[in-house]
């Protein structure tokens, strides 16, 4: 059965409430009140629209914020855990590992190492075809640039078969 426009708006209101307030304690009662719908209907409709339960969505937002915090902020894991809305470091660590594949401290080390490499060696993160076409300004050297249009203009004599090894 289609969902009425007014109901859509109510569910979206509650979803945006999570987006803006996930760092605070939020429970199903609070969200249902935001949506002005009963707890049961709110849970059912939210899950139907977003394919995750309100609780799963809230957890996802918190984990994402924790990932950014671990990568960029000078706070302890416990501080970040609390700052993004988790109450227990144990459950935070377990959920974080399940979502990201790494324990929070390992994630932080990997993220910071990658960030350092990105700053020091940016070129090594760019696939070479992009360097050739974007930074150096055209088709990889030696290839016909307009072959697809039936033209014969090429960058070199090897154009038809590509560059020699």
């Amino acid at each position: 059965m289609p969902i009425a426009p007014d109901i859509y708006r109510r569910i979206i209101t509650a979803k945006l409430y999570i987006d803006g307030n996930f760092r605070e304690p939020i429970d199903l009662d609070r969200l249902a009140r935001e949506a002005c719908i009963s707890r049961f209907h709110f849970h059912r409709l939210f899950t139907r629209i977003y394919r995750v339960t309100p609780h799963q969505y809230l957890t996802r937002k918190r984990i994402e914020a924790a990932q950014l915090g671990l990568a960029g902020k000078a706070m302890t894991v416990t501080e970040i855990c609390n700052e993004v809305g988790f109450e227990s470091v144990g459950s935070f660590s377990s959920l974080f590992k399940k979502a990201s594949g790494h324990a929070p401290t390992d994630y932080r080390l990997l993220a910071r190492e990658r960030s350092r490499q990105v700053t020091e060696q940016p070129r090594s993160f760019i696939p070479h075809c992009f360097i050739e076409t974007l930074v150096e300004g055209g088709s990889p050297k030696g290839f016909a640039t307009r072959a697809a249009f039936g033209h014969t203009k090429s960058n070199s004599q090897e154009a038809v078969s590509g560059p020699k090894p």
Binding site: Y8, L16, I49, P122, G137
Partner: protein, 137 residues
């Protein structure tokens, strides 16, 4: 054998605005943000459920690119016309996402419609690109 696509390009008129749009409004995640010495910025983003697909947001109109003036002008014309290409994004619920994105100022070409392949609304990124936002049947 080739198995997957890992990188695609979205050409945009302004890279920083593209960052604001794709990350701030659509909810994509920044994958890599690296700036080379010549000013070329390699900015890739990924859709929420596809962390291994890197979409390179490229502004051909900006410095650091190797394009000649003729090429830049061609990009300017094509992006201005929204004629450079199109794409499709999946959503769990087209009408809900349409309402939410519209409330955030995203431009749509009309309301969601039922199509053979699902419920679709067409959105504009404001940077030269049109997308179908589709809820699959």
């Amino acid at each position: 054998m080739i198995t997957r696509v890992s990188h695609v390009t979205y050409f945009v008129t302004d890279q920083e605005k593209a960052h604001q749009f794709y990350v701030g409004k659509l909810g994509f995640k920044v994958n890599t943000d690296a700036t080379m010495d010549n000013g070329f910025r390699w900015l890739t983003v990924s859709p929420p459920d596809q962390p291994d697909l890197e979409i390179a947001l490229i502004s051909p109109l900006k410095g650091g690119m190797g394009y000649d003036e003729e090429t830049v002008q061609a990009f300017r014309v094509l992006l201005g016309k929204g004629a450079l290409g199109a794409g499709v994004m999946d959503t769990t619920d087209c009408r809900a996402t349409y309402e939410e994105l519209r409330s955030k100022g995203v431009e749509f070409k009309g309301e969601p419609k039922d199509q053979f392949y699902g419920t679709e609304a067409i959105l504009y990124d404001g940077l030269g690109n049109w997308f179908s936002m589709n809820q699959r049947k």
